[in-house]
């Protein structure tokens, strides 16, 4: 099983790493397998998301599920957006949004940012907690005046679930919640 710092040399290694909770990131010009949390801590490059999208996604994920930013939601989504559809680990593949998914996230995050600018004069990531919550609250019901993007409920569910995966779906998270992970095949490293 690849370790967190072992260079990924081929697709088989990448797939094995994915099963272990590791994803492929670029750090200092070298490809490495890391968890999303490690990738964020070490400042790994983004391959798909822009800097603006990254800021918005981290802020959005944090509003939805506290702890998502530190858990590496932006790196988690980014790494999965460059994987083939069949290897993608994002919940969005359950929501019947046609792949590739990069355009969905880009358009959704832009719509969220645009709405924040239209309503509060600043980007979503710069809103205070109450302002961000006010913008997010009507999303699931799709009651979004001025929304210009993919269906807001889908974006809400996708990012909320991405965040919940990282904050609640790992062996570490189970331990925090006081739950036994009781795995048949334990993920050998934490997410």
């Amino acid at each position: 099983m690849p370790s967190a710092s072992r260079p990924a040399s081929d697709r088989r290694t990448v797939l094995a790493g994915g099963a272990a909770g590791l994803l492929l990131f670029t750090l200092g010009g070298c490809d490495k397998l890391m968890t999303a949390r490690e990738a964020r801590e070490q400042g790994a490059d983004f391959r798909n998301l822009t800097a603006q999208e990254t800021r918005t996604l981290e802020a959005f994920g944090e509003v939805l599920v506290p702890g998502a930013t530190e858990a590496g939601i932006a790196h988690f989504v980014d790494a999965n957006l460059v994987r083939p559809h069949a290897d993608c680990l994002l919940t969005i593949r359950y929501l019947d949004v046609p792949p590739p998914y990069g355009a969905f996230y880009a358009a959704g995050l832009k719509a969220l940012d645009d709405l924040a600018r239209a309503s509060a004069g600043k980007g979503f990531a710069d809103l205070d907690g109450a302002g961000a919550a006010d913008l997010v609250r009507p999303m699931l019901a799709g009651q979004m005046s001025g929304w210009n993007g993919p269906p807001a409920p889908l974006l809400y569910l996708a990012v909320r679930s991405d965040a919940a995966d990282l904050v609640y779906g790992t062996p570490d998270a189970f331990e925090r919640l006081g739950l036994p992970y009781v795995a048949h095949i334990e993920p050998p490293t934490t997410w």
Binding site: G18, P66, P99, Y168, P180, I185
Partner: protein, 521 residues
Amino acid sequence: MTGARTDALIVGAGAAGSLYAARLAAAGKSVLVLEAGPAWKNEDLVSSLIWARRLRWGGPPVASGGDNPLGVGFNTGWGLGGAALHHYGTWPRLMPSDFTMKSDHGQGLDWPIGYDDLRPFYDRVQEEVGISGDADEEVWRPAGAAYPLPPLEQFAQARLVSAGFEKLGMKTAPSPMAILSRPYKGRDACIYDGWCDAGCPIGALANPLVTYQAAARKAGARFVTGTYVTRLIQGSNKGEVAGVEYIDGDGAAQRAEADVVILAASTIGNPAILLNSTGEGWDGGAANSSGLVGRYVMGHSIAAVYGFFDDVETQNYLGVSGAQRTNQDHYDKTSLGGGAFGSLQWQIGPATKPNDLLGVAMAKANLFGEDLTRFMDRAVHHMAVMFGFGEGLPVRENRVELTDAKGPGGTKLARVVHGFPAPSMKLWEKASELGVRVMDAAGAADPWSGPPASAHLMGGTIMGSDSETSVTDSYGRCHDVANLFVAGPGLFPTGGAMNPNFTNHAVSLRGVEHLIGNWPK
């Protein structure tokens, strides 16, 4: 290349395809199985609901629309084992009334066979695969052999919720599960870790890798993965199929020929292949003189009901992903009244992990921020869950159809259009109300029900008595093409309120044994 012509060519290595392969190979037929996805092994089934997403369809996109879109991405499979690799192993039988809906109520469809025709196949499959349950406790259960294994272990949330049913004068019984409560035929017993959705690597849950696929390989059937079948090749006339065209793992177009072709490529994949197969006399697609290929697609509605038991650890993370107990007091199709039509089955106490589509966090999808944090801290220890599976009335308008979008090999991509008819939606509403009353009676705090959801994919290549009203006969043989068969829940004219995989196995066993005894000339 897949080599020489074979006796039988099977498209899809899920539950139905694997059973067909096992029986045909055992009968001495040369068998080739073409599977679009990867060659999963038990050791690939890591206990993680994040990882489990790779077990779902990863091929060309399938669009899903209509008033109540079916969850294609969640309900389908990808690779050896198909959807049955991540299914939950809840294996109730259909009821006799499910076979006579049209005759009894003037709605929906009838099957061309009755429960008694399938009963011996249910009995044999359950003995081969191993089902845990208590036939006597299931007072609703139709006639049939007792289960070969005692019920699975029960955990707190099932006992708590069952008490609510009893207070309302209703009964519960252990769910019949294709999960081993004891070691059986060389397979290990369940350890109740609740990871069924991620696949069961110890083989306690009857996934095809450890049941019929293992038998098929032993008998000589050959499985080739990474091969995407695009269309059928017409034989010497419109009533005959010669084989299939497919895209191999290197992206090259190939052909495979066989005496008999069996489509077992899912409820969506089968009609998509048929509709993409055109030729002389196949103007609307192969085996489609009825115009019904793709029609009568069905799903089950889900009434998700929750409640808190704050003084008790509900152990909702333990057990199995399917259900611990069942109630079928409202299986009669008109028993809920008020305009509701269709059968209802409760599945009580499924193991619920914190994340994923059916996880704790999604039980109240409207919560976010600190409200969600507080909810999670409470719910992971004190929430109880049950799901009411409601019958979707079969209607012609619900369909798999081709779009103008191009897929591999010049094919057209598929789209599923589905909406629950009004009586089915009323059934869901009534089920949700009933479920909250049950939770309340059980003493749950703050009981609530979730928004409409759906599960299971059935219909689209329905069986029937003739070529005007159906695609195949009761064995899955296409009315229009004598050596072409369809296998899987796509054959069902009605789906009752029962998880489809046990009936899928029984119908498949009946079909393949008939095929072996009546091999096309």
